[in-house]
Assembly symmetry: D2
């Protein structure tokens, strides 16, 4: 499996009372992503509110996604657990159901040192043959891994083969590229850094944006690949405010509001998360109008 391009992130729709997963709606959301020409799907990332699901909900979402996608594109399963034991359990489950890769992040209460993180990743790699995308997102997972340390894990941990960098610091990507001589694939996880990351050598872009703005992210990816910088720049700045907005508002709340603005009610995020307030919804509406996604 060779991941590249647009990795689409579904959100997780709950039933109206906030209890349980609405799989009918999840199906529609996965369809949205496929129609947006994503090159892979990553279930149970931040956008999917994975941290707020019970273990059985998490397993059901993972299983449903793999079964429904059924090989049309690769499926990556996100794992960000507080204990190594839980992470192992999830990784084995992902393998059992036939996922193509896992995206593994250390989620922390206590700050973790590099020995602790390394051991965590090593244990998961020892227990599952799935390729591991090392995921660095201190804004949610509260652990910040340097490019040097992540490359060290890629060298030392058999199944750790890819990196997803979400700090938004383009210099991290420069370092990954330069230190590995361009040999370690890395993915951009900060939406409003997409243009820069792709030009700097990112293999792809992990994003929930296609949930709402269709294949515009894919178009940007292709413009960069086609060496058409003017087109890429135009596409990027067209999406820029939207991309920044969904990151800063919280992906789950923003994408759920955006679906509602398009007439598809996918419910609210799980408490304590709240839906976008009215002012933010109005802003988002303006952006979707500008992008001619709604009218």
């Amino acid at each position: 499996m060779n991941l590249s391009g647009i990795i689409g992130y579904p959100i997780t729709p709950f039933h109206d009372n906030g209890q349980g997963i609405n799989f009918n709606k999840l199906k529609t959301i996965l369809d949205t992503l496929l129609e947006a020409e994503v090159d892979a799907i990553a279930a149970l990332g931040s956008a999917g509110e994975a941290a707020y699901l019970s273990q059985s909900e998490w397993e059901n979402v993972a299983n449903y996604t793999v079964k429904y996608i059924a090989g049309r594109v690769p499926v990556v399963i996100g794992i960000a657990e507080l204990t190594t034991e839980q992470a192992l359990k999830r990784a084995k489950y992902a393998h059992d159901i036939g996922a193509n890769a896992i995206m593994l992040s250390p989620f922390s209460y206590y700050p973790l040192n590099e020995d602790e993180i390394f051991t965590h990743f090593k244990r998961v790699s020892d227990e599952t043959p799935l390729p591991i995308m090392i995921y660095n997102n201190p804004a949610t997972c509260k652990v910040d891994m340097s490019p040097e340390f992540m490359l060290h894990m890629v060298e030392s941990i058999p199944h750790a083969t890819m990196i997803k960098e979400s700090t938004g610091d383009i210099q991290r990507m420069h370092k990954i590229y330069e230190l590995s001589n361009g040999t370690v694939p890395f993915f951009n996880g900060c939406n409003h850094l997409a243009l820069d990351a792709l030009v700097a050598g990112a293999a792809g872009w992990c994003t929930a944006a296609p949930c709402l703005i269709a294949n515009k992210p894919k178009q940007l990816y292709e413009a960069v690949k086609a060496n058409d910088n003017n087109k890429a720049r135009a596409l990027f700045y067209q999406q820029y405010n939207f991309l920044e907005f969904i990151v800063k508002s919280g992906l789950a709340a923003a994408i759920k509001s955006g679906y509602a603005l398009q007439g598809f009610d996918v419910g609210e995020p799980r408490k304590p998360l709240l839906p976008l307030n009215e002012e933010a919804q109005a802003k988002l509406k303006g952006m979707l109008l500008n992008l001619t996604i709604i009218n």
Copy 2:
């Protein structure tokens, strides 16, 4: 119930294989705290690895602690859950078993805004009559609440009556004192800020230090109350390196290593947390020798 003085934090000892709670050892640890003359006990804080326990383990620790202390000092139960639903469940449980107060912290994956935090605290207050200590510890819980916002919650949420400030920024305490005219009790949660916090008006000091250094924290508290600044300063600087060390090394790992150095094997913290490495253990040993805790 009027909390003040030293609030002692037990760690959670696991069985040798890392599975399940060792209640015999927990009993000894609670005895250590009582012998150290703590004025209250706060179970299931950071030191207690609450974030790494299963729900039933968490409940059993809470229940055991309340039953064993049996009113000798007040018992506060820490609650730091990712979802409001889980926090409510834990708060009701704490009330059911007869705890005296809860220490409530927003624990986050997505950054939370003030509306989200407020709603979370309000819901808990609506569901339980226990007094709530608002707990601000961004280093672990990843949410930073300003003094102004916490005082707003104290004014607006019936059972939110106290604040625990763990940022280590003494100006936060100045603000709490000044803005509330000294009427809202606040507690220091940053060990190596204890002298400053108590002089600045803190009602007490939340600390796991008495697990290892007996009543030295209590002596410091009493020296400040007795207006003996020279004695207070001497006691503070005597403990200073130790207090800073346990914070910077991670309370659970440091306290567990310290017990081992005193001949009491309480096992390791739960993975991905690792025990102190040899260098850190040697440092801790030196500090305990200096404090004549071991010889």
Copy 3:
């Protein structure tokens, strides 16, 4: 000379057109400080707009201050120059006119490393017998020196004997005290940290506050020395908003506005610095009313 207690900082009054120093007014300001019972005077600090003076203006202010104070209290001269050559020139001048000490800070355009800072201080110490107060104030001088490094300079550079810490981080003071076993005198340069610093062992408090609020800072200093923590706390919180305000508004602008509110027109700070805007002036007025400095 043994510095301790309140080190008062005069501002520098210009003539009405902003050109040249108004020495008549400087005399009145120095009198204010003496009446406020300061234990020493530090000319040409931040409050004195030293960075905005020509070399001859700087020399004239230094000379006037030393001559007018005439030994009634020690006079410290602040030196914060971009080049070592200029710093040497100023240090020699301070010695020539009979100042008692210099307060030396690295002022930087390029960030300076420890070798560069050390060499700068060493050169000055080699050229003048005056005691040197090492002054750490990254908010203005843009160089941040750790407690460990400053203590290293105290050990290695003959005339470097004291430290002024203005970061506002109380842990820096704890470190200085603990690492030097209380033997190296340090001064607090962050007004709204005064209570904590003095209790933590500071030898004194460097402040422009006495320009406006008379001997209230001295009273706080004495309450701490007298071990009267309740009185010290009351005095501190009474002044707290004012102390924070003058730091956050910029000392020169705030003190000049405060004098004007008391009926003493000392002109404006030098451009690009602007006087306090109306809202800030109203705030300051409210604080001086509360402190019964004006009515």
Copy 4:
């Protein structure tokens, strides 16, 4: 005058005793830049140690540069003064000698608010007809101007027409481009951000790198303009370590050491700045060898 492309920054060579400017050597340095195909020259920037020159030295360097370049490329003069009065004096001088533009930065001791910065820029614009490049470099000038504020100045201050952004935060450039709809020319001042900045729409790249690595920066600029992303990426990563190194080591010290490694002794930077230490020199030598600049 329409600035774009590579704006080259000369360093300032002193005589062997550190006193006075060595104009013979300055001539050679300017020749280096012209041979490196720079599109403009900016004298008296950070690289030129402008902050460490006396007023007459500063004027002589400005004058010499304009006269020697003699219109072959535009000459921009950097101005970063602590007082508005000094900035005005320098701006008038730049105009008098025939410079093409000024690059104006607020250099601060006290932090400056936006009113203070605006007034500073407005006054300079009122006094000279030269186009002003607003220069944001908080790492040296200690004032951080937001994209929104700089664009506000471009709209409101007649001669303020361009922006140089040196924070290294690519999002600032995205904002400038997006908010101005691509109409306000901005320049990259962070060497190791060059690829990203140019792709994101920067009009040019302000850099001292051509002093040492000839037309490699120009080649990178042209590859981006030619839409050859693979070539641009290859050129960027080839230079990357060098570009990061000269920024992190301090431009003046690094460029001066680099010239020495090429057999051209331009002396040391001015104290307190020190030359690169041996370890750093060895690193730089390795980089220049890799780039086949030396052998």
